[in-house]
Amino acid sequence: MTGPRLTLGLATLTAAAAALLPIVTDNRAMLSWTLLVFIYIALAQSWNVLGGFGGQVNLGHAALFGLGALTTRFLWTAGTPIAAALAAGVGVATATGFLIGAPALRLRGPYFAIGTLAVAEILRITAGNVLPDIAALPPRALAAYTLVPRYYLALGVAAVTTGIAAWIARSRFGRGLVAVREDEAVAESVGVNAYGHTLAAFVISSALAGAAGGVFAYYHVGFYPSFVFSPLWTFDPLLIVYLGGVGTVTGPIAGAVVFLALREALALRLGELHLLIFGALFIAIVIALPGGIVQAVRDLLDRPRSVHSTEVTSTT
Protein backbone atom coordinates (compact mmCIF):
# COMPACT_ATOMS: atom_id res chain seq x y z
CA MET A 1 0.00 0.00 0.00
CA THR A 2 3.00 2.33 -0.24
CA GLY A 3 2.19 3.16 -3.90
CA PRO A 4 -0.90 5.34 -3.40
CA ARG A 5 0.52 6.95 -0.25
CA LEU A 6 3.74 7.78 -2.08
CA THR A 7 1.78 9.29 -4.98
CA LEU A 8 -0.35 11.36 -2.60
CA GLY A 9 2.78 12.58 -0.78
CA LEU A 10 4.46 13.54 -4.05
CA ALA A 11 1.32 15.30 -5.26
CA THR A 12 1.05 17.32 -2.04
CA LEU A 13 4.72 18.23 -2.25
CA THR A 14 4.39 19.37 -5.90
CA ALA A 15 1.29 21.42 -5.13
CA ALA A 16 3.03 23.03 -2.14
CA ALA A 17 6.07 23.89 -4.25
CA ALA A 18 3.80 25.36 -6.92
CA ALA A 19 1.95 27.38 -4.27
CA LEU A 20 5.24 28.82 -2.97
CA LEU A 21 6.52 29.89 -6.40
CA PRO A 22 4.96 33.40 -6.47
CA ILE A 23 6.46 34.06 -2.99
CA VAL A 24 9.92 32.99 -4.07
CA THR A 25 10.01 34.83 -7.40
CA ASP A 26 8.22 37.67 -9.13
CA ASN A 27 9.53 36.71 -12.57
CA ARG A 28 6.43 37.32 -14.70
CA ALA A 29 7.55 35.10 -17.56
CA MET A 30 8.06 32.16 -15.23
CA LEU A 31 4.77 32.71 -13.40
CA SER A 32 2.84 33.06 -16.68
CA TRP A 33 4.41 29.90 -18.02
CA THR A 34 3.53 27.93 -14.88
CA LEU A 35 0.00 29.35 -14.95
CA LEU A 36 -0.40 28.09 -18.52
CA VAL A 37 0.85 24.68 -17.38
CA PHE A 38 -1.99 24.65 -14.82
CA ILE A 39 -4.61 25.60 -17.42
CA TYR A 40 -3.37 22.90 -19.78
CA ILE A 41 -3.25 20.33 -16.97
CA ALA A 42 -6.89 21.08 -16.18
CA LEU A 43 -7.89 20.98 -19.86
CA ALA A 44 -5.99 17.75 -20.54
CA GLN A 45 -7.38 16.06 -17.41
CA SER A 46 -10.87 17.06 -18.51
CA TRP A 47 -10.43 15.48 -21.96
CA ASN A 48 -8.86 12.40 -20.41
CA VAL A 49 -11.89 11.71 -18.19
CA LEU A 50 -13.97 10.79 -21.22
CA GLY A 51 -11.28 10.12 -23.84
CA GLY A 52 -8.84 8.20 -21.65
CA PHE A 53 -10.95 6.37 -19.08
CA GLY A 54 -14.07 6.16 -21.23
CA GLY A 55 -12.39 5.62 -24.61
CA GLN A 56 -14.69 8.04 -26.47
CA VAL A 57 -12.82 10.47 -28.75
CA ASN A 58 -14.30 13.94 -28.33
CA LEU A 59 -13.08 16.16 -31.18
CA GLY A 60 -15.20 19.10 -30.03
CA HIS A 61 -13.63 19.71 -26.66
CA ALA A 62 -13.00 23.33 -27.69
CA ALA A 63 -16.78 23.89 -27.56
CA LEU A 64 -16.86 23.32 -23.79
CA PHE A 65 -13.63 25.20 -23.10
CA GLY A 66 -14.94 28.11 -25.18
CA LEU A 67 -18.36 28.22 -23.52
CA GLY A 68 -16.74 28.25 -20.08
CA ALA A 69 -14.37 31.00 -21.19
CA LEU A 70 -16.98 33.23 -22.82
CA THR A 71 -19.52 32.90 -20.00
CA THR A 72 -16.94 33.63 -17.31
CA ARG A 73 -15.49 36.54 -19.26
CA PHE A 74 -18.83 38.12 -19.98
CA LEU A 75 -20.12 37.92 -16.39
CA TRP A 76 -16.80 38.93 -14.85
CA THR A 77 -16.31 42.01 -17.03
CA ALA A 78 -19.94 42.92 -16.30
CA GLY A 79 -19.05 43.15 -12.60
CA THR A 80 -19.79 39.69 -11.20
CA PRO A 81 -17.16 38.42 -8.72
CA ILE A 82 -14.80 35.99 -10.45
CA ALA A 83 -15.85 33.03 -8.27
CA ALA A 84 -19.49 33.41 -9.27
CA ALA A 85 -18.59 34.04 -12.92
CA LEU A 86 -16.41 30.94 -12.98
CA ALA A 87 -19.18 28.88 -11.40
CA ALA A 88 -21.58 30.12 -14.07
CA GLY A 89 -19.06 29.19 -16.78
CA VAL A 90 -18.77 25.70 -15.35
CA GLY A 91 -22.57 25.51 -15.16
CA VAL A 92 -23.05 26.45 -18.82
CA ALA A 93 -20.38 23.97 -19.94
CA THR A 94 -21.92 21.22 -17.80
CA ALA A 95 -25.42 21.80 -19.16
CA THR A 96 -24.10 21.90 -22.73
CA GLY A 97 -22.16 18.70 -22.10
CA PHE A 98 -25.37 17.00 -21.07
CA LEU A 99 -27.30 18.38 -24.05
CA ILE A 100 -24.62 17.22 -26.53
CA GLY A 101 -23.76 13.99 -24.78
CA ALA A 102 -27.26 12.60 -24.26
CA PRO A 103 -27.95 12.14 -28.00
CA ALA A 104 -24.32 11.86 -29.19
CA LEU A 105 -23.28 8.99 -26.92
CA ARG A 106 -26.08 6.82 -28.29
CA LEU A 107 -24.22 6.90 -31.63
CA ARG A 108 -21.83 4.16 -32.63
CA GLY A 109 -18.68 4.11 -34.72
CA PRO A 110 -17.23 7.40 -35.93
CA TYR A 111 -20.37 9.44 -35.34
CA PHE A 112 -19.50 10.64 -31.84
CA ALA A 113 -16.14 12.06 -32.94
CA ILE A 114 -17.49 13.83 -36.04
CA GLY A 115 -20.66 15.00 -34.28
CA THR A 116 -18.65 16.73 -31.55
CA LEU A 117 -16.31 18.21 -34.18
CA ALA A 118 -19.36 19.71 -35.90
CA VAL A 119 -20.69 21.19 -32.65
CA ALA A 120 -17.41 22.99 -31.96
CA GLU A 121 -17.33 24.35 -35.52
CA ILE A 122 -20.92 25.63 -35.23
CA LEU A 123 -20.02 27.48 -32.03
CA ARG A 124 -16.78 28.86 -33.49
CA ILE A 125 -18.52 30.27 -36.59
CA THR A 126 -21.44 31.60 -34.55
CA ALA A 127 -19.15 33.26 -32.02
CA GLY A 128 -17.25 34.89 -34.90
CA ASN A 129 -20.52 36.13 -36.44
CA VAL A 130 -22.28 37.34 -33.31
CA LEU A 131 -19.24 38.70 -31.44
CA PRO A 132 -16.78 39.84 -34.09
CA ASP A 133 -14.93 42.26 -31.77
CA ILE A 134 -12.00 41.44 -29.57
CA ALA A 135 -12.92 40.80 -25.92
CA ALA A 136 -10.50 43.26 -24.33
CA LEU A 137 -10.55 44.14 -20.66
CA PRO A 138 -12.18 47.44 -19.66
CA PRO A 139 -9.53 50.00 -18.57
CA ARG A 140 -10.53 49.76 -14.91
CA ALA A 141 -9.99 45.98 -14.84
CA LEU A 142 -6.78 46.36 -16.82
CA ALA A 143 -5.39 48.82 -14.26
CA ALA A 144 -6.17 46.41 -11.42
CA TYR A 145 -4.74 43.40 -13.27
CA THR A 146 -2.21 41.37 -11.26
CA LEU A 147 -0.87 37.95 -12.07
CA VAL A 148 -0.75 36.37 -8.60
CA PRO A 149 -4.51 35.83 -7.96
CA ARG A 150 -4.82 34.36 -11.45
CA TYR A 151 -1.90 32.09 -10.69
CA TYR A 152 -3.57 30.72 -7.57
CA LEU A 153 -6.94 30.31 -9.26
CA ALA A 154 -5.27 28.30 -12.05
CA LEU A 155 -3.37 26.22 -9.50
CA GLY A 156 -6.58 25.55 -7.60
CA VAL A 157 -8.50 24.50 -10.70
CA ALA A 158 -5.63 22.26 -11.85
CA ALA A 159 -5.44 20.65 -8.39
CA VAL A 160 -9.21 20.10 -8.13
CA THR A 161 -9.34 18.69 -11.68
CA THR A 162 -6.47 16.33 -10.97
CA GLY A 163 -8.10 15.31 -7.69
CA ILE A 164 -11.34 14.48 -9.49
CA ALA A 165 -9.44 12.50 -12.13
CA ALA A 166 -7.59 10.58 -9.39
CA TRP A 167 -10.86 9.85 -7.63
CA ILE A 168 -12.42 8.59 -10.87
CA ALA A 169 -9.40 6.37 -11.57
CA ARG A 170 -9.90 4.62 -8.24
CA SER A 171 -13.64 4.66 -7.82
CA ARG A 172 -16.17 2.02 -8.73
CA PHE A 173 -17.51 4.46 -11.32
CA GLY A 174 -14.07 4.78 -12.95
CA ARG A 175 -13.57 1.04 -13.07
CA GLY A 176 -16.95 0.68 -14.70
CA LEU A 177 -15.95 3.32 -17.24
CA VAL A 178 -12.71 1.49 -18.08
CA ALA A 179 -14.66 -1.76 -18.37
CA VAL A 180 -17.00 -0.13 -20.91
CA ARG A 181 -13.96 1.11 -22.86
CA GLU A 182 -12.36 -2.32 -22.92
CA ASP A 183 -15.45 -4.35 -23.79
CA GLU A 184 -18.90 -2.85 -23.70
CA ALA A 185 -20.77 -6.13 -23.99
CA VAL A 186 -18.88 -7.74 -21.11
CA ALA A 187 -19.27 -4.60 -18.99
CA GLU A 188 -23.02 -4.60 -19.58
CA SER A 189 -23.24 -8.28 -18.74
CA VAL A 190 -21.79 -7.70 -15.27
CA GLY A 191 -24.25 -4.91 -14.63
CA VAL A 192 -22.42 -1.75 -15.76
CA ASN A 193 -24.73 0.74 -17.47
CA ALA A 194 -22.49 1.68 -20.42
CA TYR A 195 -24.54 4.64 -21.62
CA GLY A 196 -24.95 6.06 -18.12
CA HIS A 197 -21.24 5.74 -17.36
CA THR A 198 -20.03 7.43 -20.57
CA LEU A 199 -22.66 10.16 -20.28
CA ALA A 200 -21.62 10.90 -16.67
CA ALA A 201 -17.98 10.98 -17.80
CA PHE A 202 -18.84 13.40 -20.61
CA VAL A 203 -20.72 15.72 -18.24
CA ILE A 204 -17.81 15.72 -15.74
CA SER A 205 -15.37 16.25 -18.62
CA SER A 206 -17.46 19.20 -19.85
CA ALA A 207 -17.62 20.81 -16.41
CA LEU A 208 -13.83 20.58 -15.97
CA ALA A 209 -13.20 21.92 -19.50
CA GLY A 210 -15.50 24.83 -18.68
CA ALA A 211 -13.47 25.55 -15.54
CA ALA A 212 -10.23 25.55 -17.55
CA GLY A 213 -11.86 27.96 -20.01
CA GLY A 214 -13.01 30.19 -17.17
CA VAL A 215 -9.47 30.47 -15.80
CA PHE A 216 -8.20 31.28 -19.29
CA ALA A 217 -10.79 34.05 -19.60
CA TYR A 218 -9.77 35.50 -16.22
CA TYR A 219 -6.07 35.33 -17.16
CA HIS A 220 -6.02 36.48 -20.78
CA VAL A 221 -6.05 40.23 -21.40
CA GLY A 222 -7.68 40.25 -24.83
CA PHE A 223 -8.89 37.56 -27.25
CA TYR A 224 -11.37 37.18 -30.08
CA PRO A 225 -14.48 35.26 -28.92
CA SER A 226 -14.11 32.79 -31.81
CA PHE A 227 -10.52 32.04 -30.72
CA VAL A 228 -11.57 30.08 -27.63
CA PHE A 229 -13.51 27.69 -29.93
CA SER A 230 -10.51 27.11 -32.21
CA PRO A 231 -9.75 23.44 -32.97
CA LEU A 232 -6.38 23.99 -31.28
CA TRP A 233 -8.18 23.88 -27.90
CA THR A 234 -9.13 20.33 -28.83
CA PHE A 235 -5.83 19.38 -30.41
CA ASP A 236 -3.58 20.65 -27.60
CA PRO A 237 -5.21 18.64 -24.78
CA LEU A 238 -5.32 15.59 -27.06
CA LEU A 239 -1.60 15.89 -27.76
CA ILE A 240 -0.88 16.44 -24.06
CA VAL A 241 -2.92 13.42 -23.00
CA TYR A 242 -1.32 11.11 -25.56
CA LEU A 243 2.12 12.55 -24.90
CA GLY A 244 1.82 11.95 -21.17
CA GLY A 245 -0.17 8.75 -21.18
CA VAL A 246 -3.82 8.32 -22.10
CA GLY A 247 -6.08 6.96 -19.36
CA THR A 248 -3.71 7.83 -16.49
CA VAL A 249 -3.80 10.60 -13.87
CA THR A 250 -0.12 11.55 -14.01
CA GLY A 251 -0.05 11.49 -17.83
CA PRO A 252 -1.81 14.82 -18.41
CA ILE A 253 0.48 16.51 -15.85
CA ALA A 254 3.69 15.17 -17.39
CA GLY A 255 2.29 15.86 -20.87
CA ALA A 256 1.38 19.48 -20.06
CA VAL A 257 4.84 20.25 -18.68
CA VAL A 258 6.64 18.67 -21.64
CA PHE A 259 4.23 20.21 -24.17
CA LEU A 260 4.64 23.76 -22.87
CA ALA A 261 8.41 23.40 -22.47
CA LEU A 262 8.62 22.16 -26.07
CA ARG A 263 6.33 24.91 -27.31
CA GLU A 264 8.39 27.55 -25.53
CA ALA A 265 11.59 26.18 -27.05
CA LEU A 266 10.24 25.52 -30.56
CA ALA A 267 7.82 28.38 -31.19
CA LEU A 268 10.53 31.01 -30.73
CA ARG A 269 12.99 29.33 -33.06
CA LEU A 270 10.69 27.85 -35.68
CA GLY A 271 7.59 30.04 -35.66
CA GLU A 272 4.60 28.33 -37.30
CA LEU A 273 6.72 25.32 -38.17
CA HIS A 274 6.54 24.09 -34.58
CA LEU A 275 2.93 23.00 -35.19
CA LEU A 276 4.24 20.58 -37.79
CA ILE A 277 6.48 19.00 -35.17
CA PHE A 278 3.57 18.73 -32.72
CA GLY A 279 1.35 17.13 -35.34
CA ALA A 280 4.05 14.63 -36.30
CA LEU A 281 4.85 13.93 -32.64
CA PHE A 282 1.19 13.23 -31.95
CA ILE A 283 0.92 10.81 -34.87
CA ALA A 284 4.15 9.07 -33.83
CA ILE A 285 2.85 8.56 -30.28
CA VAL A 286 -0.50 7.19 -31.46
CA ILE A 287 1.29 4.70 -33.73
CA ALA A 288 4.42 3.79 -31.79
CA LEU A 289 3.99 4.68 -28.11
CA PRO A 290 0.28 4.52 -27.26
CA GLY A 291 1.05 4.65 -23.52
CA GLY A 292 3.00 7.92 -23.73
CA ILE A 293 5.62 9.10 -21.26
CA VAL A 294 4.04 7.29 -18.31
CA GLN A 295 4.23 3.97 -20.13
CA ALA A 296 7.80 4.63 -21.25
CA VAL A 297 8.88 5.38 -17.68
CA ARG A 298 7.09 2.31 -16.35
CA ASP A 299 8.75 0.10 -18.95
CA LEU A 300 12.12 1.58 -18.05
CA LEU A 301 11.60 0.95 -14.32
CA ASP A 302 10.24 -2.55 -14.87
CA ARG A 303 12.95 -3.69 -17.21
CA PRO A 304 15.54 -4.95 -14.68
CA ARG A 305 12.88 -6.88 -12.77
CA SER A 306 11.23 -8.42 -15.78
CA VAL A 307 14.52 -10.05 -16.78
CA HIS A 308 14.19 -12.29 -13.73
CA SER A 309 10.49 -12.84 -13.88
CA THR A 310 9.81 -13.31 -17.58
CA GLU A 311 7.80 -16.45 -16.98
CA VAL A 312 5.48 -14.77 -14.50
CA THR A 313 4.84 -11.70 -16.66
CA SER A 314 4.32 -13.71 -19.81
CA THR A 315 1.51 -15.70 -18.27
CA THR A 316 -0.39 -12.68 -16.98
Partner: protein, 289 residues
Amino acid sequence: MILAQSAVFGLLIGGLYGLAAVGLTLVFGVLKMLNVAHGELIMLGGYAAFWLFTLWQVDPFVSVLPAGAALFLVGVVLYRVLFGRLLRAAEETKLKNSILIGFGLALVLQTIALVAWTGDERAVTTAYAGGVLPVGPIVIPYARLGALAVAFVAVAALHVFLHHTYPGKAIRATAEDVDAASLAGIPVPTVFLSAFGLGSALAGVAGTLAAVTDAVSPSIGLAWTLKALIVVVLGGFGSVAGAFVAGLGLGVVESVSGVLLGNAYREIMGLVLFLAVLALRPQGLFARG
Protein backbone atom coordinates in the same frame (compact mmCIF):
# COMPACT_ATOMS: atom_id res chain seq x y z
CA MET B 1 -36.24 34.55 -58.38
CA ILE B 2 -33.32 35.11 -56.02
CA LEU B 3 -34.22 31.79 -54.44
CA ALA B 4 -34.25 30.00 -57.78
CA GLN B 5 -30.91 31.56 -58.66
CA SER B 6 -29.40 30.54 -55.33
CA ALA B 7 -30.83 27.02 -55.67
CA VAL B 8 -29.03 26.76 -59.03
CA PHE B 9 -25.81 28.03 -57.46
CA GLY B 10 -26.32 25.46 -54.71
CA LEU B 11 -26.63 22.64 -57.23
CA LEU B 12 -23.48 23.85 -59.01
CA ILE B 13 -21.39 23.87 -55.83
CA GLY B 14 -23.14 20.77 -54.49
CA GLY B 15 -21.62 18.56 -57.17
CA LEU B 16 -18.25 19.47 -55.72
CA TYR B 17 -19.42 18.56 -52.21
CA GLY B 18 -20.50 15.20 -53.55
CA LEU B 19 -17.11 14.63 -55.15
CA ALA B 20 -15.35 15.66 -51.93
CA ALA B 21 -17.41 13.13 -50.00
CA VAL B 22 -17.04 10.23 -52.42
CA GLY B 23 -13.31 9.84 -51.72
CA LEU B 24 -13.91 9.88 -47.98
CA THR B 25 -16.70 7.32 -48.12
CA LEU B 26 -14.65 5.03 -50.38
CA VAL B 27 -11.81 4.91 -47.85
CA PHE B 28 -14.23 4.40 -44.99
CA GLY B 29 -16.20 1.72 -46.74
CA VAL B 30 -13.17 -0.35 -47.70
CA LEU B 31 -10.72 0.22 -44.84
CA LYS B 32 -13.17 1.06 -42.03
CA MET B 33 -10.95 4.07 -41.36
CA LEU B 34 -12.03 7.70 -41.24
CA ASN B 35 -9.46 10.11 -42.61
CA VAL B 36 -10.34 13.46 -41.03
CA ALA B 37 -7.45 15.02 -42.99
CA HIS B 38 -9.44 14.49 -46.22
CA GLY B 39 -10.09 18.24 -46.43
CA GLU B 40 -6.35 18.90 -46.26
CA LEU B 41 -5.87 16.59 -49.25
CA ILE B 42 -8.49 18.69 -51.07
CA MET B 43 -6.49 21.76 -50.06
CA LEU B 44 -3.34 20.23 -51.58
CA GLY B 45 -5.25 19.53 -54.80
CA GLY B 46 -6.30 23.17 -54.86
CA TYR B 47 -2.69 24.33 -54.56
CA ALA B 48 -1.67 21.93 -57.33
CA ALA B 49 -4.19 23.60 -59.64
CA PHE B 50 -3.13 27.06 -58.52
CA TRP B 51 0.58 26.50 -59.16
CA LEU B 52 0.07 24.67 -62.45
CA PHE B 53 -2.00 27.63 -63.63
CA THR B 54 0.28 30.34 -62.23
CA LEU B 55 3.58 28.85 -63.35
CA TRP B 56 2.67 27.21 -66.65
CA GLN B 57 -0.82 28.55 -67.46
CA VAL B 58 -2.28 25.05 -67.34
CA ASP B 59 -6.06 25.25 -67.46
CA PRO B 60 -7.50 23.97 -64.14
CA PHE B 61 -9.80 21.58 -65.98
CA VAL B 62 -6.67 20.02 -67.50
CA SER B 63 -4.93 20.06 -64.09
CA VAL B 64 -7.55 17.64 -62.83
CA LEU B 65 -5.49 14.75 -64.21
CA PRO B 66 -1.99 15.62 -62.90
CA ALA B 67 -3.43 16.83 -59.57
CA GLY B 68 -5.39 13.60 -59.21
CA ALA B 69 -2.29 11.56 -60.02
CA ALA B 70 -0.15 13.56 -57.57
CA LEU B 71 -2.67 13.11 -54.77
CA PHE B 72 -2.89 9.40 -55.59
CA LEU B 73 0.84 9.21 -54.83
CA VAL B 74 0.39 11.27 -51.66
CA GLY B 75 -2.32 8.85 -50.61
CA VAL B 76 -0.10 5.84 -51.29
CA VAL B 77 2.68 7.35 -49.16
CA LEU B 78 0.27 8.24 -46.34
CA TYR B 79 -1.11 4.73 -46.41
CA ARG B 80 2.32 3.09 -46.41
CA VAL B 81 3.75 5.34 -43.67
CA LEU B 82 0.72 5.89 -41.43
CA PHE B 83 -2.69 4.37 -42.02
CA GLY B 84 -1.50 0.97 -43.19
CA ARG B 85 0.00 0.39 -39.77
CA LEU B 86 -3.44 0.26 -38.20
CA LEU B 87 -4.67 -2.76 -40.14
CA ARG B 88 -3.86 -5.32 -37.49
CA ALA B 89 -5.70 -3.49 -34.70
CA ALA B 90 -9.22 -4.48 -33.65
CA GLU B 91 -12.08 -2.78 -35.51
CA GLU B 92 -12.82 -0.13 -32.89
CA THR B 93 -9.19 0.72 -32.16
CA LYS B 94 -8.49 0.93 -35.88
CA LEU B 95 -11.28 3.45 -36.42
CA LYS B 96 -10.34 5.50 -33.35
CA ASN B 97 -6.64 5.62 -34.18
CA SER B 98 -7.34 6.52 -37.81
CA ILE B 99 -9.36 9.50 -36.58
CA LEU B 100 -6.53 10.51 -34.21
CA ILE B 101 -3.87 10.16 -36.91
CA GLY B 102 -5.98 12.17 -39.34
CA PHE B 103 -6.40 14.88 -36.71
CA GLY B 104 -2.62 15.14 -36.33
CA LEU B 105 -2.06 14.87 -40.08
CA ALA B 106 -4.44 17.77 -40.69
CA LEU B 107 -2.25 19.98 -38.52
CA VAL B 108 0.91 18.79 -40.28
CA LEU B 109 -0.42 19.40 -43.81
CA GLN B 110 -1.89 22.77 -42.84
CA THR B 111 1.42 23.91 -41.41
CA ILE B 112 3.36 22.70 -44.45
CA ALA B 113 1.02 24.68 -46.72
CA LEU B 114 1.27 27.74 -44.49
CA VAL B 115 5.06 27.70 -44.40
CA ALA B 116 5.50 26.84 -48.09
CA TRP B 117 2.83 29.04 -49.65
CA THR B 118 1.89 31.61 -46.91
CA GLY B 119 -1.63 32.10 -45.55
CA ASP B 120 -2.80 34.20 -48.54
CA GLU B 121 -6.01 33.21 -50.29
CA ARG B 122 -5.29 32.01 -53.82
CA ALA B 123 -7.69 31.56 -56.68
CA VAL B 124 -7.40 30.46 -60.28
CA THR B 125 -8.82 33.18 -62.50
CA THR B 126 -9.12 31.93 -66.05
CA ALA B 127 -10.05 33.95 -69.12
CA TYR B 128 -13.58 32.53 -69.02
CA ALA B 129 -13.97 33.03 -65.26
CA GLY B 130 -16.49 35.89 -65.61
CA GLY B 131 -18.52 34.31 -68.40
CA VAL B 132 -22.09 33.24 -67.72
CA LEU B 133 -24.72 31.24 -69.56
CA PRO B 134 -28.09 33.01 -69.26
CA VAL B 135 -31.07 30.63 -68.94
CA GLY B 136 -34.12 32.85 -68.86
CA PRO B 137 -33.73 35.10 -65.81
CA ILE B 138 -31.13 32.78 -64.23
CA VAL B 139 -27.42 32.95 -64.95
CA ILE B 140 -25.03 30.00 -64.84
CA PRO B 141 -21.28 30.78 -64.66
CA TYR B 142 -19.30 28.68 -67.13
CA ALA B 143 -16.58 27.85 -64.62
CA ARG B 144 -19.04 26.44 -62.10
CA LEU B 145 -20.97 24.56 -64.73
CA GLY B 146 -17.69 23.02 -65.88
CA ALA B 147 -16.82 22.08 -62.27
CA LEU B 148 -20.19 20.40 -61.84
CA ALA B 149 -19.75 18.52 -65.11
CA VAL B 150 -16.27 17.29 -64.16
CA ALA B 151 -17.48 16.30 -60.69
CA PHE B 152 -20.35 14.37 -62.22
CA VAL B 153 -18.07 12.62 -64.73
CA ALA B 154 -15.61 11.69 -61.96
CA VAL B 155 -18.32 10.25 -59.73
CA ALA B 156 -19.97 8.42 -62.64
CA ALA B 157 -16.61 6.99 -63.69
CA LEU B 158 -16.02 5.79 -60.14
CA HIS B 159 -19.47 4.19 -60.11
CA VAL B 160 -18.79 2.37 -63.39
CA PHE B 161 -15.35 1.33 -62.16
CA LEU B 162 -16.72 -0.09 -58.91
CA HIS B 163 -19.65 -1.90 -60.50
CA HIS B 164 -18.46 -3.03 -63.92
CA THR B 165 -14.74 -3.78 -63.75
CA TYR B 166 -12.90 -6.61 -62.09
CA PRO B 167 -10.67 -4.46 -59.82
CA GLY B 168 -13.69 -2.36 -58.88
CA LYS B 169 -15.65 -5.45 -57.89
CA ALA B 170 -12.66 -6.62 -55.88
CA ILE B 171 -12.77 -3.32 -53.96
CA ARG B 172 -16.48 -3.73 -53.26
CA ALA B 173 -16.06 -7.34 -52.23
CA THR B 174 -13.32 -6.33 -49.79
CA ALA B 175 -15.55 -3.59 -48.39
CA GLU B 176 -18.28 -6.13 -47.80
CA ASP B 177 -16.27 -8.94 -46.22
CA VAL B 178 -12.47 -8.88 -45.92
CA ASP B 179 -12.10 -12.53 -44.97
CA ALA B 180 -14.32 -13.85 -47.72
CA ALA B 181 -12.60 -11.62 -50.27
CA SER B 182 -9.22 -12.87 -49.12
CA LEU B 183 -10.38 -16.50 -49.35
CA ALA B 184 -11.64 -15.85 -52.88
CA GLY B 185 -8.11 -14.88 -53.87
CA ILE B 186 -8.49 -11.10 -53.88
CA PRO B 187 -5.15 -9.45 -52.96
CA VAL B 188 -6.60 -7.54 -50.01
CA PRO B 189 -3.45 -5.50 -49.15
CA THR B 190 -3.33 -4.19 -52.75
CA VAL B 191 -7.03 -3.38 -52.61
CA PHE B 192 -6.54 -1.41 -49.39
CA LEU B 193 -3.62 0.53 -50.85
CA SER B 194 -5.43 1.36 -54.09
CA ALA B 195 -8.65 2.33 -52.29
CA PHE B 196 -6.74 4.80 -50.12
CA GLY B 197 -4.85 6.13 -53.17
CA LEU B 198 -8.07 6.42 -55.15
CA GLY B 199 -9.82 8.23 -52.29
CA SER B 200 -6.94 10.70 -52.11
CA ALA B 201 -6.92 11.16 -55.89
CA LEU B 202 -10.62 12.05 -55.76
CA ALA B 203 -9.78 14.62 -53.09
CA GLY B 204 -7.14 16.02 -55.47
CA VAL B 205 -9.70 16.33 -58.27
CA ALA B 206 -12.18 17.99 -55.91
CA GLY B 207 -9.45 20.41 -54.78
CA THR B 208 -8.62 21.37 -58.35
CA LEU B 209 -12.25 22.24 -59.00
CA ALA B 210 -12.47 24.05 -55.67
CA ALA B 211 -9.61 26.31 -56.79
CA VAL B 212 -11.76 27.38 -59.77
CA THR B 213 -14.98 28.06 -57.88
CA ASP B 214 -13.59 29.09 -54.46
CA ALA B 215 -10.34 30.38 -53.04
CA VAL B 216 -7.62 28.12 -51.65
CA SER B 217 -5.75 28.81 -48.41
CA PRO B 218 -3.99 26.53 -45.89
CA SER B 219 -6.92 26.63 -43.48
CA ILE B 220 -9.74 25.50 -45.81
CA GLY B 221 -9.24 21.83 -44.92
CA LEU B 222 -11.45 21.53 -41.85
CA ALA B 223 -14.42 23.14 -43.60
CA TRP B 224 -14.08 20.69 -46.51
CA THR B 225 -13.69 17.71 -44.17
CA LEU B 226 -16.88 18.73 -42.41
CA LYS B 227 -18.73 19.19 -45.68
CA ALA B 228 -17.56 15.77 -46.84
CA LEU B 229 -18.60 14.22 -43.51
CA ILE B 230 -22.02 15.90 -43.64
CA VAL B 231 -22.57 14.60 -47.15
CA VAL B 232 -21.34 11.11 -46.27
CA VAL B 233 -23.68 10.89 -43.30
CA LEU B 234 -26.63 12.28 -45.28
CA GLY B 235 -25.99 9.87 -48.13
CA GLY B 236 -25.24 6.87 -45.94
CA PHE B 237 -21.70 5.64 -45.28
CA GLY B 238 -20.23 3.72 -48.20
CA SER B 239 -22.72 4.81 -50.85
CA VAL B 240 -21.24 6.59 -53.91
CA ALA B 241 -24.48 7.57 -55.63
CA GLY B 242 -26.04 8.56 -52.29
CA ALA B 243 -23.08 10.81 -51.56
CA PHE B 244 -23.40 12.65 -54.88
CA VAL B 245 -27.13 13.27 -54.44
CA ALA B 246 -26.59 14.32 -50.81
CA GLY B 247 -23.84 16.69 -51.99
CA LEU B 248 -26.27 18.43 -54.33
CA GLY B 249 -28.77 18.62 -51.48
CA LEU B 250 -26.25 20.18 -49.09
CA GLY B 251 -25.26 22.71 -51.75
CA VAL B 252 -28.88 23.83 -52.18
CA VAL B 253 -29.54 23.96 -48.41
CA GLU B 254 -26.43 26.08 -47.81
CA SER B 255 -27.06 28.38 -50.72
CA VAL B 256 -30.75 28.98 -49.99
CA SER B 257 -30.20 29.45 -46.25
CA GLY B 258 -27.40 31.90 -47.13
CA VAL B 259 -30.02 34.02 -48.90
CA LEU B 260 -32.68 33.63 -46.22
CA LEU B 261 -30.52 34.00 -43.07
CA GLY B 262 -27.50 35.91 -44.31
CA ASN B 263 -24.29 34.62 -45.76
CA ALA B 264 -22.58 34.24 -42.38
CA TYR B 265 -24.97 31.41 -41.49
CA ARG B 266 -24.85 29.30 -44.66
CA GLU B 267 -22.29 26.84 -43.29
CA ILE B 268 -24.04 26.58 -39.96
CA MET B 269 -27.30 25.42 -41.58
CA GLY B 270 -25.43 22.51 -43.14
CA LEU B 271 -23.90 21.58 -39.78
CA VAL B 272 -27.23 21.85 -37.98
CA LEU B 273 -28.85 19.65 -40.61
CA PHE B 274 -26.00 17.22 -40.08
CA LEU B 275 -26.54 17.05 -36.31
CA ALA B 276 -30.26 16.60 -36.82
CA VAL B 277 -29.66 13.64 -39.14
CA LEU B 278 -27.06 12.21 -36.74
CA ALA B 279 -29.55 12.36 -33.89
CA LEU B 280 -32.58 11.08 -35.80
CA ARG B 281 -31.33 8.86 -38.60
CA PRO B 282 -27.61 8.07 -38.26
CA GLN B 283 -27.68 5.41 -40.99
CA GLY B 284 -28.22 8.18 -43.58
CA LEU B 285 -31.21 9.51 -45.45
CA PHE B 286 -30.87 7.16 -48.40
CA ALA B 287 -29.75 4.00 -46.63
CA ARG B 288 -32.17 1.12 -46.47
CA GLY B 289 -33.25 -0.25 -43.10
